[in-house]
């Protein structure tokens, strides 16, 4: 065709200044600009129903092809606990001098899994949902928060299973069980914050998702999921700094809080000092810091 490269195009676009001035005169705003922090919070709040609906939908979709359907929500954690009981309780018979070892272990596993899967889901929150990010306009923080919420819902099923296990192993119902609620709220805030941090990193460098399982596994082994930090630190063979680090590790803090709340033989003496302060501090630090860190890159998500 003769005109394939025919230039210039027959439009006379006004000069840039004119267009900018025209836009300003009619109060147009720049498309896709990052909103201010208060505005961002407002937008996010306006999407709260989407966040919860998306989390629930993901959770439901998970087992929708299975014959037993939603029964797996409870079966899954129960089987998980059974495996850990089989390995640590029966095969190795390692109790680490911990009373009520099975409830101790299962609580640790469930609470740890909550943090672990929130972070794993967080790394893929943006990079795994590019279709959504590129098609619809919403505050992107909705995605990592929604995934963390999905894990929280999952954990509530696990907690139901946990209560069955606790009662089966003769742990009495106590008023202190109520403390599980603030502990979970704090842990959720912490998880959501860390999810947002890794979501931003994962959006820029998807390779993070490959690396994260190794980081998380290491983290799990130092968090006292299968053993009691208290027993180790009380031997006093460790340098003071290591003791402090072990005790302040957020995962360990949340796990110990939950054990303290649920298991009567896990006394306050086994808790690290200032445990509620540490739990709150980590939640605020990760929650607020993660949110701001995520918001800072809001306009860049979805660029591929």
């Amino acid at each position: 065709m003769s005109q394939v490269l025919h230039t210039p195009p027959p439009t006379q676009a006004p000069a840039g200044d004119d267009l900018a001035a025209l836009a300003a005169r009619h109060g147009l705003s720049v498309s896709g600009a990052r909103p201010s922090l208060p505005e961002y919070v407002r937008q996010l709040w306006a999407r709260r129903h989407f966040i919860s609906a998306f989390a629930t939908a993901k959770l439901t979709a998970q087992y929708s092809q299975a014959k037993l359907g939603q029964i797996w929500q409870v079966m899954n954690p129960l089987l998980n606990a059974a495996v850990y009981y089989f390995i640590f309780g029966v095969l190795l018979n390692t109790k680490h001098n911990v009373p009520d070892y099975v409830p101790f272990l299962v609580t640790g596993v469930f609470i740890w899994t909550f943090t672990q899967s929130s972070i794993m889901a967080g790394t893929r929150a943006i990079s795994g949902n590019l279709g959504l990010v590129r098609a619809l306009h919403f505050p992107r923080a909705a995605l990592p928060i929604s995934f963390a919420l999905q894990q929280l819902q999952q954990l509530l099923f696990s907690m139901a299973a946990l209560i069955v296990i606790l009662l089966a192993f003769g742990v009495p119902v106590a008023v202190s069980w109520v403390l599980a609620i603030p502990a979970l709220v704090l842990q959720f805030t912490f998880n959501a914050g860390v999810s947002m941090i890794v979501a931003r990193m994962g959006a820029k460098t998807p390779d993070i998702a490959q690396l994260m399982p190794f980081v998380l596994r290491t983290w799990m082994y130092v968090s006292g999921v299968m053993w009691s930090i208290d027993k180790i630190t009380s031997h006093d063979k460790l340098p003071h700094l290591v003791t402090i680090l072990l005790e302040l590790n957020p995962a360990a803090v949340y796990i110990d809080l939950m054990r303290f709340a649920l298991i009567d033989s896990f006394h306050a003496a086994s808790l690290p000092p200032h445990v509620w302060a540490a739990a709150t501090g980590w939640a605020l630090l990760a929650g607020i810091g993660g949110f701001i860190y995520f918001w800072k890159a809001e306009e860049t998500y979805g660029r591929g």
């Binding site: 065709m1 005109q3 394939v4 490269l5 025919h6 230039t7 195009p9 027959p10 439009t11 006379q12 676009a13 006004p14 840039g16 267009l19 900018a20 025209l22 836009a23 009619h26 109060g27 147009l28 705003s29 720049v30 498309s31 896709g32 600009a33 306006a46 999407r47 129903h49 989407f50 609906a53 998306f54 939908a57 993901k58 439901t60 979709a61 929708s64 092809q65 949902n129 279709g131 959504l132 990010v133 590129r134 098609a135 619809l136 306009h137 919403f138 460098t205 390779d207 306009e299 860049t300 979805g302 660029r303 591929g304």
Partner: protein, 328 residues
């Protein structure tokens, strides 16, 4: 170009023109990892991670310049068609107007938040149609009460329940036509300020197409401005009074529908310049072999042509999905 539109029929009520979208020499560039020099090797990948900005080229990051220096002003009450052969940057431009893709240079100013008619991404195949209506509606930013209120309208419009109670079945059991109809119905249920439609009219059977075209006209009356990307010349003629023609990311023409379409059809060669014949039924007039082949033919001659055919330009085939590593 502001002067080109007032004479058009279709929005006589707007005597004073209010701009809703202003694009000011917009450039959009995609960066694709793992192509070009040293592609796929471990060292190149390492380079890319370590020296992100400085050594993009050395590390095999390829830039695809999808939209170049496009400027236009869209006014309230206009329906604007976007045409161009595959890979000319139409969808990319729409995404940038919607604020979903960052621009490299220039600015896009909008009145309110333009929305792309693309709800597909939020929907989950394993869930029932019913839950997807809620999820899709919420994802588009409709308040929960509004979704509830419009739920029945959405289902009725989609016609999913015409042949039985299918809305309570998982979407994976739907035929592709049914799923597409439900998606369009959800997307069209919201009131939009500036509405961007990317190839949405080709879905469903004939009766559904008629309904959806009617719905788009209705949306246009509420919406400030409608942009429509389509390869179906007939639906462009039916819905739009102004057309932007993009070719290789450049704005080639901007004017009243009939004028631009005439040139475009001559360009794609699928019709004689005389524009009176009925448009073909098939959706997309493919760019013919001559049109696609000619840049190379001309590249030998003019320097412009060389610039246009350099590796930064999307290959004639596929920049609709430029994120996929291009074979080199």
């Amino acid at each position: 170009m502001a002067e080109q539109t007032p004479g058009n029929p279709g929005h006589p009520e707007h005597s004073e023109q209010v701009p809703t979208v202003v694009a000011d020499s917009v450039d959009i560039v995609y960066r694709v990892n793992g192509t070009g020099a040293g592609r796929g090797t471990a060292t190149a990948a390492l380079n890319r991670i370590l020296r992100r900005k400085q050594a993009e080229k050395a590390a095999g990051v390829r830039k695809v310049h999808a939209v170049r220096k496009v400027s236009f002003v869209a006014y309230k009450g206009e329906a604007i068609g976007l045409i161009g052969t595959n890979g000319s940057g139409k969808s990319t431009l729409l995404k940038a107007v919607a604020g979903l893709l960052p621009v490299e240079n220039g600015h896009i100013y909008t009145d309110g938040q333009p929305s792309l008619l693309g709800v597909n991404a939020a929907m989950m195949n394993d869930l029932t149609g019913e839950r997807n209506v809620f999820l899709g509606g919420l994802a588009m930013g409709m308040p929960r009460e509004q979704v509830k209120e419009r739920y029945q309208d959405i289902v009725d419009f989609s016609g999913i329940n015409e042949k039985g109670d299918f809305i309570t079945l998982p979407m994976r059991t739907y035929s592709s036509g049914m799923a597409a109809r439900l998606r369009f119905s959800i997307a069209a249920a919201k009131d939009h300020d500036v509405l961007l439609i990317d190839e949405a009219l080709a879905t469903g059977d004939r009766s559904f197409q008629k309904r959806s075209e009617a719905r788009i006209r209705e949306l246009r009356q509420h919406a400030g401005t409608v942009f429509l990307v389509s390869h179906n010349n007939k639906s462009i003629r039916d819905t739009c009074e102004r057309v932007l023609w993009l070719e290789r990311g450049e704005l080639r023409m901007d004017g009243p529908t009939e004028e631009v379409m005439k040139e475009y059809e001559a360009f794609t060669g699928d019709k004689k310049p005389a524009p009176k014949k009925p448009a073909p039924k098939s959706a997309a007039p493919k760019p013919d072999a001559k049109a696609a082949g000619s840049p190379e033919a001309k590249a030998a001659g003019s320097p412009e042509a060389k610039a246009a055919a350099n590796p930064e330009t999307p290959a004639a085939g596929n920049p609709e999905t430029p994120k996929v590593p291009l074979p080199s």
